[in-house]
C-alpha cells in the first residue's frame, strides 16, 4: 500500500506549488489513471512516488516506511520495485531490445557486473520471457532506434516488468503514440497489471482511455486533487472543469476562428 500524506512540491523560482497538499492512498489492485492539463502536476506526482523528486513537505509511505527517513541506498531498493515507463520511452540508444530490457535488472546486481554486461543464462532467459510477453520475441536482437513508437514502448514495459515490480508508474506513456497503438499499449498494461497483481498509476491525456481501462480516476488541477473516484462517476462537466474546455470533446473538433 502506498500512502501520500499531505505532499507539497514547489520548484525553485516558481510562483505556485506544483503539487499542493495532496492526500491519496493507492490500494493493491488499483489501476489509477491521473488526468489533468499539462502543468497540473501529474508528472511531479509520479516522480514523487518513486523518489525521483523529493517533496518540499509531506510524506510518502510505502509499506509503512516513510521515504523521508530512508537513506539514498534504501530509496534505491524501493525504486527497483517500482517499474516506470515514460512518454519518450527513455531507452538506451545503440543497444538492442534484449540489452535494453536487461537493464531492468540493474537495481538487483552489482554495478561491476552491470558495467561489463555479464548476465547468467537464467537472467537472459527471464529477459527473453518478458520480451515474449510484450509481443517482441522476433525483435530481441534489433537495435531500439529501428523500432516504431509502439514497439519502443513495449520495450519500456518489458524493462519495467523485468524489475519484478509491485508498482507500475507511467508518465504519459502513450502521449507520443497514435490512438490505435495507445489502446493496444493500455490493453497490454492492463493484462500485465492483472496477471502480476500490480498497483498501477498512469498519467494520461486521453479521457476515453482512462475511462475504459482505469479502476479509479484521479484528476488534478493546479496541483490539487479535484476528482478521485470510479471512472463511471467522471462526467463531462468534470472534463470541462479540469481542461478549462468550453465543452466536452472540444479538443478533438476543428474550430474555425
Amino acid at each position: 500500500m502506498l500512502e501520500i500524506r499531505n505532499i507539497t512540491v514547489r520548484y525553485p523560482g516558481m510562483k505556485h506549488n506544483a503539487l499542493n497538499s495532496i492526500n491519496l492512498t493507492i490500494h493493491p489492485g488499483d489501476f489509477v489513471c491521473v488526468l489533468g492539463k499539462s502543468g497540473a502536476g501529474k508528472s511531479t506526482l509520479i516522480r514523487c512516488l518513486n523518489g525521483l523528486q523529493a517533496p518540499s513537505s509531506g510524506e510518502i509511505i510505502w509499506d509503512g516506511q516513510p521515504f523521508s527517513v530512508l537513506s539514498d541506498e534504501q530509496l534505491r531498493k524501493i525504486r527497483r520495485e517500482m517499474g516506470m515507463i515514460f512518454q519518450h520511452f527513455n531507452l538506451i540508444p545503440r543497444l538492442s531490445v534484449l540489452q535494453n530490457v536487461l537493464t531492468g535488472m540493474f537495481g538487483y546486481r552489482s554495478s561491476f557486473k552491470n558495467l561489463i554486461g555479464w548476465f547468467t543464462e537464467e537472467e537472459q532467459a527471464q529477459a527473453k520471457q518478458v520480451i515474449a510477453e510484450v509481443g517482441l520475441a522476433d525483435f530481441a536482437d534489433r537495435r531500439v532506434e529501428h523500432l516504431s513508437g509502439g514497439q519502443k514502448q513495449r520495450v519500456g514495459i518489458a524493462r519495467a516488468l523485468l524489475q519484478k515490480p509491485r508498482f507500475l508508474l507511467g508518465d504519459e506513456p502513450v502521449a507520443s503514440l497514435d490512438p490505435g497503438t495507445s489502446d493496444r499499449i493500455f490493453s497490454l498494461l492492463q493484462e500485465m497489471h492483472d496477471r502480476r497483481n500490480l498497483q498501477t498509476i498512469i498519467n494520461v491525456h486521453d479521457v476515453h482511455l482512462a475511462k475504459r481501462y482505469a479502476t479509479r480516476i484521479i484528476a488534478l488541477k493546479d496541483g490539487e486533487v479535484v476528482f478521485d473516484g470510479e471512472p463511471e462517476k467522471f462526467k463531462d462537466d468534470m472534463y470541462v472543469f479540469i481542461y478549462d474546455a468550453e465543452s466536452y470533446g472540444e479538443r478533438s473538433s476543428i474550430r474555425l476562428t
Binding site: 525521483l52 516506470m84 515514460f86 527513455n90 531507452l91 538506451i92 531492468g104 540493474f106 552491470n114 558495467l115
Partner: protein
C-alpha cells in the same frame, strides 16, 4: 529587412578590428613583389631525395606513436574527468567547479610550454612530447566531452535511476552510448591535431619527423625537406580518412 541598425555598428567595429590587426601584423600584399625568392627557394626542394625514405618513414612512425599515445591517454584520463565537469553528472557543485577550473588551467598551457618544461627533467626525445600532448588533450577533450554530456538527453538517465541503478552508474550507462560517436569524432580530430603538434614539439627536440624536418631545414637539405613535408601530408590525410571510416562504422 535583414539588417538592423545595430548590424551597421557591428560592421564598423569589425572593419576597425581588421584594420588594426593588419597594422599590427604588417599585413602588406605589395611585399609579394619579391615572390621570385620564394620560387627560387622552392625550386631547391626538387627533385626529392628518395634515398632517405626508409629513415623518414621510421621517424614518421615515431611521430604517429607520439600523437596516438598522447591523444589516447588524454582521452582515457579526460573522459572520467568530463563526467565530473558536466553539470548534470558531477553530483556536487564543488567538484564541478574544481574540475572545470582544473581543465581550463591545463588547456591554457600550450603544448610547447609543457614540452619545454618537461624536457628539462626528462631530456630530449619523444617521451616528454607524449606527456605534453597528453596534458593538453586532457584539458581539451575533458571540456569538449563535458559539453556533449550536458547536451545529452536526460530521459535515459532518469530511466536508469528508476530501475534502481546507482546514480553514478545510471549516468555513465545512459550517457556514454548517446555521446559515443561524437566522442570518437572529437578524438580523431584531436589525434590529427596531435600529429601537427608533435611536429612543432620535434622542433624543440621532441623527436619524430618534426625534428628531422627541423634539422634538414637548418642544414639546407631542401631535397630532404620536401620529402618530409610530403610524408607529413600523407600521414595527416590517412589519419583523417581512417577516422571517418571508424566513425561511419560506429554510427
Amino acid at each position: 529587412m535583414w539588417f538592423k541598425k545595430s548590424s551597421i555598428l557591428t560592421f564598423i567595429v569589425l572593419a576597425l578590428f581588421v584594420y588594426l590587426s593588419m597594422r599590427l601584423t604588417e599585413f602588406d600584399l605589395s611585399k609579394f613583389k619579391d615572390f621570385r625568392n620564394m620560387i627560387d627557394f622552392l625550386s631547391h626542394w626538387f627533385p626529392m631525395d628518395f634515398s632517405l625514405l626508409p629513415m623518414i618513414l621510421e621517424d614518421s612512425l615515431e611521430t604517429l606513436a607520439m600523437a596516438f599515445l598522447g591523444s589516447f591517454f588524454g582521452l582515457i584520463i579526460g573522459l572520467p574527468l568530463s563526467f565530473m565537469a558536466a553539470k548534470n553528472t558531477s553530483g556536487s557543485k564543488v567538484v564541478y567547479h574544481l574540475t572545470r577550473i582544473g581543465l581550463s588551467f591545463v588547456r591554457s598551457i600550450p603544448e610547447i610550454v609543457f614540452g619545454l618544461i618537461l624536457l628539462t627533467a626528462l631530456g630530449l626525445g619523444p617521451f616528454p612530447a607524449v606527456l605534453a600532448i597528453m596534458f593538453h588533450n586532457i584539458g581539451v577533450l575533458g571540456k569538449l566531452i563535458s559539453e556533449l554530456i550536458e547536451s545529452s538527453d536526460p530521459g535515459p538517465q532518469e530511466a536508469m535511476k528508476a530501475v534502481g541503478a546507482k546514480t553514478w552508474f545510471a549516468s555513465l550507462f545512459s550517457i556514454l552510448p548517446q555521446i559515443w560517436p561524437n566522442v570518437l569524432s572529437n578524438y580523431f580530430y584531436r589525434f590529427e591535431v596531435a600529429i601537427r603538434t608533435s611536429l612543432i614539439l620535434g622542433f624543440i627536440g621532441g623527436g619524430g619527423i618534426g625534428q628531422r624536418l627541423f634539422n634538414d631545414f637548418k642544414t639546407f637539405q631542401y631535397s630532404a625537406v620536401s620529402l618530409d613535408v610530403l610524408v607529413i601530408m600523407i600521414i595527416v590525410i590517412v589519419v583523417d580518412l581512417f577516422g571517418s571510416y571508424v566513425r561511419s562504422r560506429v554510427i
